[in-house]
């Protein structure tokens, strides 16, 4: 879920389309929108330091969506619901993330979808984090070499 919510929408859509296009016509999943994408505000709670009292830091825009998979049931025979809560107000991103969340619970799709979508996204996110850490790391200043009064 975190991977779906944090993925860049364009890349997520590209990978999802790639996976869905590879399915035979008969296996194409269908969904019912139980709750269409809707934007709202969520209060963020924060603490200043480990011993600080919690306070309301501010509100954040969140878009949520819930779908039901119509072309399959869970291992226990119950209907499969997919839900997504994403930061920001991109309804298409929330809808796609909710659909993929539902497919990831479907026995016939889970493993293939994990390989086709989730693993590449996780790899890319890790690489982006490492790249960012490298860029920041390059500007690190080694204070202990600045010693005054010698020579």
């Amino acid at each position: 879920m975190a991977t779906l919510a944090k993925a860049p929408p364009a890349r997520l859509s590209e990978l999802a389309q790639g996976y869905l296009a590879g399915l035979p016509q008969a296996a194409a999943p269908r969904f019912t929108m139980l709750r269409k994408p809707e934007a709202g505000l969520v209060m963020l709670r924060a603490r200043a330091g480990g011993s600080g009292a919690p306070f309301n830091m501010g509100e954040m825009t969140v878009t949520r969506c819930t779908v039901r998979l119509e072309t399959g049931v869970g291992a226990d025979g119950a209907p499969i619901h997919g839900a997504a809560y994403i930061a920001g107000r991109d309804g298409a991103h929330a809808a796609l993330a909710a659909k993929l969340d539902a497919l990831l619970q479907a026995p016939g799709h889970a493993d293939a979808l994990r390989r086709a979508v989730i693993e590449p996204l996780e790899r890319e996110r890790k690489a982006a984090r490492a790249e960012r850490a490298r860029q920041v790391g390059a500007t690190k200043v080694e204070f202990f070499t600045m010693v005054r009064g010698e020579d």
Binding site: T32, M33, L34, R35, K36, E38, G40, L41, V42, M43, E59, V62, R64, T66, R68, A78, P79, H81, A83, Y85
Partner: protein, 212 residues
């Protein structure tokens, strides 16, 4: 602002909410406003959600339009089921009242109204707005015991006969009106239409003495 935690699970046989949540709820709100402004006059309710049985679509439309987690709902056993509770929590973020007197809204069949109305909150003399609103489900708005009503919102006395209304219903409505400015407001939901019966409506003559 929505509250994500308590209503993320739609339940096993979930119905659907309004097709267009914002505009449909606004249209339904307008219908309720018209119904309350011109009491005892049927107002069409076209845009309805599809709730799970046994909750009627019109009652669900009113619930999704007016109620949220700050207005505890008391649901009559005739309309209560786990699927309905899941539906109202998921689509509307509703909270349920454990006791009838704590409810801000009640949904019940009109046959249960006579025993229900006296138990609902009527507000206080200082805060008459802290009263409950009852949504009464009827099969129609024409074929029951009739009463002639007048009061604010009536151009002329009007005859009103919701299906399922009987003498006991009109006695309860009359006793409720006598509490004014305290008292309960009634919304009568029939297939495709609703009518309002606010506490300000005066019941002139109950049971068939129409003065058309």
């Amino acid at each position: 602002m929505f509250d994500p935690a308590p209503h993320t699970d739609p339940g096993p046989d979930a119905g659907l909410g309004f097709a267009d949540p914002v505009l449909d709820a606004a249209a339904c709100f307008r219908a309720i406003l018209d119904a309350m402004a011109q009491p005892a006059r049927p107002v069409a309710l076209r845009r309805r959600p599809t709730p799970p049985a046994p909750l009627p679509a019109e009652a669900a439309a009113i619930a999704l339009t007016l109620m949220d987690r700050e207005t505890p709902l008391w649901l009559d056993p005739a309309f209560a089921s786990p699927a309905v509770a899941d539906y109202l929590r998921f689509q509307g973020g509703l909270r349920f009242a454990d006791r009838l007197e704590d409810a801000a809204f009640a949904i019940a069949p009109i046959a249960a109204a006579a025993s229900l109305i006296p138990k609902l909150a009527i507000g206080t003399a200082v805060y008459p707005d802290r009263s409950a609103t009852a949504v009464l489900v009827a099969d129609g708005l024409e074929s029951g015991a009739a009463a002639t009503l007048s009061g604010p919102g009536f151009e002329a006395p009007r005859r009103f006969a919701p299906a399922g209304a009987d003498a006991a219903f009109w006695r309860a409505a009359e006793a409720n009106g006598a509490l004014f400015p305290q008292g309960v407001d009634l919304l009568i939901a029939a297939p495709g239409a609703l009518a309002g019966l606010p506490r300000s409506a005066r019941i002139q003559s109950a049971v068939e003495q129409g003065e058309d």
